[in-house]
Amino acid sequence: MPHGYNGKILHIDLTTRKIEVEEPSESFYRKYMGGSAMGMYYVLNQTPAKTDALGPDNVLCLFDSVITGAAISGQSRMTATAKSPLTDCIGDSQCGGFFPAEFKFAGFDGMVIKGQADSPVYLWIKDGEVEIRDAAHLWGKITGEAEAMIQEELGDNKIEVLQVGPAGEKAVRFAAIMSMSNRAHGRTGMGAVMGSKNLKAIAVRGTKKPSIADKKALSELARWGAKNLPESDAAGLAKYGTAETVGGNQRGGGLPTFNFNSGSFDNWENISGELLYDKYLRGADEGKQDSKGRDTCYACTVRCKRVVEWEDARYRVDPHYGGPEYETLATFGSYCGIDDMVAISKANQICNEYGMDTISCGATIAWAYEAFHEGVLTLADTGGMDLTYGNAESMVKLTEMIGQREGFGAVLAEGSARAADILGGGHEFLIVSKKQETPAHMPQAKISLGLIYAVNPFGSDHQSSEHDPMYNKVYAEKLAQIGLHNPMHPRVMNEEKVKFALHTQWSYSATDSVNVCQFVVGPTWQLYHIQQLADIVNAVTGWNVTVDELQELGERRVNMLRAFNAREGIGKEQDTLPEKMFAKALVGGKSDGRKLDHAEWLAHRDIYYQMAGWDVETGNPTQEKLESLGLGWVGV
C-alpha cells in the first residue's frame, strides 16, 4: 500500500460513458510524482497530434500529486493539462482550494478525461464511486449558482465542485476551470476544453485520507512553517495578498500601464494591496479583515486569498467570489489606465462567475483600449462603447460581454491575438507570447523572466521561473541548493542570469508536478525551500527524494511540454516577446526610455537552448536529452 497517494487513476470517456481505473506502479509515481508531469504522460500518449483543442480527442488531465491532502501548507493543488485553444500549444494551469485534497480523499490521484458527452453532464465522485449525471439544468448557470445547486441535489454542502462557467460552455478561449467559484485553473483556456466536452462540473466528496509514511516528520515540517511564517518573506503575501507587489513593481518601473506602454502608473496607490486590505476586504470597517477578509486552501496556514465585500451605487461586490490578485489589479487596472478598486473587484467577480482567466481577459481589454486610443478600433467596432483609457464602466461591461460572448465581447472572447486577426488591425499593440496575454511583470524590468515568458511551452507565464530581483545574496544558501552561486543585479542579463532562469524554471516546474503552491514552496522568498520540499515528499511517501531528483523532475516536465509543442510543429519561431518591447521605449517613471535589445535577447535565447540541451536551430528537445530524462518514448 503506497503512502500519500491512492495508486488509482480514473479514465473517463464521455463519448462512450466508459469509466476505468488504472493502478500504475510505484516507479511511475516516483518518476512523474503527479500534477503537470503526470498529466503530460497521458496527454502525450493519448492526444493525437494536431488535434482540435475543442474537439473530443483533446484529452483533459486533472492531477493531484503524491502529497496532495497531507496536513501541511501549500499541498492542495491540482493541475489541468490539455492542448490549449488559446495558444494551440500545450495548455497547463494549476489551482488550489479544497477540491484537490477532497479528490484525493475520494480515492483517486488523477483523472484522464476524453471524448464528448452528447448532452451536458457532471461527474459525481464519492469514496471510490463515479457517476456521470445529467447537467442540463446546470448549463448556463454562473459558478456560484451551479455550485449551490449541485450541493443541494446531492444533499451535502461539504461537496467540493470543480466546474466551468458560461464562458467555458461558450468556448471563450481563455475560459477557466473554477473551484469554490473563486479559484481558477486560469491560464491557457482549460475551461474551454472542459466545456467543449459538455462537462459542466466535477463534484467530489471523500472521507479516506491516505496514510503518511512518517507522521512525526511531516508534523514537524508543518509546525516549522506555521512558526516561521510571520518572520518569513511570505508574511506580506499572507496579510496583503499578492496585491502587496503593486508598490514594489511600480517603484521598479515595472507596473504595466496603458497596455505596456509605460511601467509607471501615477494612481498606483488606488489599486494597492494596502488599500485593498485597509478598505475593501470583508471586515475592514470593523478592523477584522484578518479573520473575515482572508481565505485559505486546505491545511494552509498562509491564508493569502482575498475576500472583498462592497456595495455602492454602481456595483455590489459579492464576497463569495473572492477578491482580486495582483495580476487582476494590474490587468483590469493599470493596463487599462483604471484606478477604480471597486470596478476592478467587480470585473474579478464577473470573471469568477463566468469562469475566465483574469489575466487574459483584462489584458485583452487593455489591447482593445490601446487600439481604440490609436484609432484602429472605432465606436463602430465596439458597438458604441467608449474604450478610452481609464473608462472603468466600459471595462466592467466588456468583461461581462466577453463572458456571454455578446456583441464586441464575442470578438475579444477569442483572445487579443485572434481579435486582431478578426478585426484586421492592432497587431502592433499585442502583448502576447504564443498568443497568450502577458502577465503583469515586465520583461523590460525583469529580463530573465521575460526570456522564460518567451520560451515557456504554454505561453508567457510569471510563475514558471524566479523573478530577477531574487537572484540576491539574501537567498544565497537556498539558491546554492539548485546550483546557483553568483547573485546578480536585478537588471543585469548575461549567461549567469540565463542559468538562473533555467534552474529556477526547473524548480518551479517541479512544484507544478509535486503540485505545491509556489507562494509556499520555491527557491527563494517562499516559506519552504526546495530541500524542504524533498523533506515533505519523503515524509509523506517514505521515499528518499533529493533536490537533484526534484530538479530533474522539473526538467522532465518542461521537456514533455516542449515535446508536445514540437509534435504540433511549434518551436523556436514562437519563442518570442511582443515586438513592442524591442521597438518602443517605455514612457515615464523609473523605466522611462527602457526597451529590450533584440540582438542581445536573441543571443540569450540561444544560450538558454544550449543550456537546456535543446537543438538551437529548432528550439526542440533533442532525442538524446529526452532519453536522458527517461523520455525516450516521447520522440519529437
Partner: protein, 77 residues
C-alpha cells in the same frame, strides 16, 4: 536631521497601524539609507527610494528633509 519615512506593504507593520507606514525619523548627520534599515530592523530584499529617486544603494547619503520610501520587491501574482 529629520527625514520622513514611508514603509510599504508588510513593512508598514513596523509602525503602529494608525501611522499607515508613515513617520518621521531623527538621524545623525552623515546617516545613510542603511541607518533607516537598521532602525527598523529590515534585512530583506527591498527597494529604497529617496525623494522619488528609486533603486538606490544602502549607502545612499541622507539629508535633512529627505523623504525615504521602502518597498518589498515584487514577485508572484
Amino acid at each position: 536631521m529629520n527625514v520622513t519615512i514611508r514603509l510599504h506593504g508588510l513593512l508598514r507593520d513596523k509602525l503602529p497601524p494608525e501611522n499607515k507606514g508613515k513617520t518621521t525619523l531623527a538621524l545623525p548627520k552623515g546617516a545613510t539609507a542603511k541607518d533607516v534599515l537598521t532602525h527598523f530592523n529590515i534585512d530583506r530584499i527591498i527597494s529604497i527610494a529617496v525623494n522619488d529617486e528609486v533603486e538606490l544603494e544602502e549607502t545612499h547619503p541622507l539629508h535633512d528633509g529627505d523623504h525615504v520610501e521602502i518597498f518589498r520587491s515584487g514577485a508572484g501574482g
